[in-house]
Symmetry: C2
Subunit: 349 residues, 2 copies
């Protein structure tokens, strides 16, 4: 039991293994600064970013093997991670207190709604793997009216925000065919749901064990990468023609095969490389077929507002694979690293 001045928190004390992450019962409770609110965390989802940041696996511009956070420099410690937060405002302007909110984890380069994020909650400042988090009042969005559960809402900011950013930056339109790699992952399932919602034809690449989940999420067809020899041919066969867009979060040895599934002037948008970041590409098809590779990270304020509207309307249905209490964060991260079950893992108060 923590006093009013303290709280339970999972604190990262340095870059490294799980031993760098320690659950404290008496960590100082944050005090909101000017323009900030205090949010009591109800649910916080686990992301790759948490593990990679702790491991320092992002490299830097000059040295891909350097130990660094996502901005290419080591992050300051001690740090409370957790970018995906659904909670209730317990201190702040009266009109916000008591509201259930979703926290935008981005801090932006400017006030422009299209500005890119320059800092992320849980990396550059403390996040939601704790009982309380202090954030800018402008970062909280009222989701009291959403039919989604706290746990489902906590799935949205990073995974669905990233997916929304990818679809918007690739300008995916109705009736276009989009290939989604890693379709049973957090961003993958979000891509399938959001692309289907904009009436695109979704060809999902996933393992055969995840097919039914991915189809239920809205995929038109699946390519089971453990059951086909030629992924390129299987995609084109499933789509009936080469794809307009590839949304990739996998990279790795299969990168060339998905790139080859694009039609002339097709676009590939990439927001991750869980299958391996360093790939060989043949530049000839890139220029001869006039392809475009679009790098995408997270979302903008405009994307996030669109996402909140969808959450309140209930037009998306995030899948929660399992929940864990905060003190079981190590167990949750181990499950996250090893589980093949589709859906997100969420820490709950």
């Amino acid at each position: 039991m923590s006093s009013d001045a303290t709280m339970r928190a999972a604190v990262m004390h340095g870059h490294g293994g799980p031993e760098q992450l320690v659950v404290h019962d008496d960590w100082p409770r944050p005090v909101p600064g000017d323009g900030q609110v205090l949010v009591q965390v109800r649910a916080a989802a686990v992301n790759n970013t948490d593990l990679w940041t702790r491991q320092g696996a992002y490299g830097s511009a000059s040295d891909p093997d350097a130990v660094a956070g996502w901005l290419g420099v080591p992050i300051e410690v001690p740090r409370i991670q957790g970018a995906d937060v659904c909670g209730v405002v317990v201190d702040g302007p009266p009109e916000l207190v008591g509201r259930r909110v979703l926290v935008d984890p981005g801090t932006y380069a400017s006030d422009d709604v299209d500005a890119i994020p320059v800092a992320v909650m849980g990396s550059e400042y403390d996040g939601g793997f704790a009982e309380f988090v202090a954030v800018d009042a402008s970062a909280v969005y009222d989701v009291s009216a959403s039919p989604l559960s706290d746990e489902q809402l906590a799935c949205l900011p990073i995974a669905y925000g990233t997916a929304m950013g990818m679809l918007e930056r690739a300008e995916v339109a109705a009736k276009e065919t989009i290939v989604v790699t890693g379709a049973s992952g957090g961003v993958g399932l979000a891509l399938v749901q959001l692309a289907a919602a904009r009436l695109a034809t979704v060809i999902a690449v996933c393992s055969s064990s995840a097919s039914s989940t991915v189809l239920a999420a809205g995929a038109t067809a699946v390519v089971e990468r453990d059951r086909v020899d030629d992924v390129t041919a299987a995609i084109v066969d499933a789509a009936g023609r080469p794809a307009d867009v590839v949304a990739d979060v996998v990279g790795g040895p299969g990168f060339g095969a998905v790139l080859a599934s694009l039609r002339e002037q097709g676009r590939l948008v990439i927001a991750g490389a869980i299958g391996g970041p360093v790939v060989q590409i043949d530049l000839r098809p890139l220029y001869l077929r006039q392809l475009r590779l679009i790098g995408s990270t997270m979302h903008t304020r405009a994307h996030f507002a669109t996402l909140v509207a969808a959450a309140n309307a209930g037009t998306i249905a995030p899948i929660v694979a399992a929940t864990f209490p905060l003190e079981s964060i190590h167990e949750a991260q181990t499950a996250f690293s090893t589980s093949r079950a589709p859906g997100k893992l969420v820490l709950v108060a």
Copy 2:
């Protein structure tokens, strides 16, 4: 001496070495079809495309090492190459006969001025390494009024057309900083001239022997790749900040270094890979820094019309390194492959 029914022509008889290219004095003179004109060739420039197509070095989508032309399939032989033609109309509509013309080497996917080329003169149909060539009347542009010489005009269609396509597709704007690789090559010098003409700051990467030519063409600064250890640092130092755009025709081992010179949300447009087509890239900076890679091939009708206007206004000044008579095409191609002298080689009547 050829009769009225024949002409001198350099004919490619198959994919392979120089022996596949034979100069005939009695090759059948083309007869213009419906909607075509007959052009007497005054000057025809030599391009990489001529050599690569003859060598079949483009590979195919399924096999990068396959012997194929630029469309990924072997081209039909016998074939007269030569995509860069300045000549005089000698048969066709009265308003065109006698006019000096530049031939658009593209045949397009549709009538749209933004349509992409689907066939190229000298590859899919006979080109200008001959005394005469028959082309669609819609492909000839009157350049009688241009202050440029026939030889200078023959430098434009492929090299300046490709450069114009790159700048337009990357949306290069005034005051932006653009890095041009291979800046002393045909496309490279065109990029420098055209980018400088739109008031961009041009950082040119070239060998020290070409520096003075490249600076005279309009580069703001040069990075001499034989004299600097760290090309990325040298570019950023010369520009005073990371670059907005990289226009690359080199690829190869230096690809990563120029890619790393881009600012966040920068774009790299690529239209060739003379330094090697298969490269390793790290996907992490691509997505974390939200870069874009834009594949570009040739030009559209809209780009070509803009180029012709510049030619007639005399605002560009192509550099002719040397001229050769048509019968010396082997010597010209050998010089093209081995010469380090900036400027284009042109075959003349």
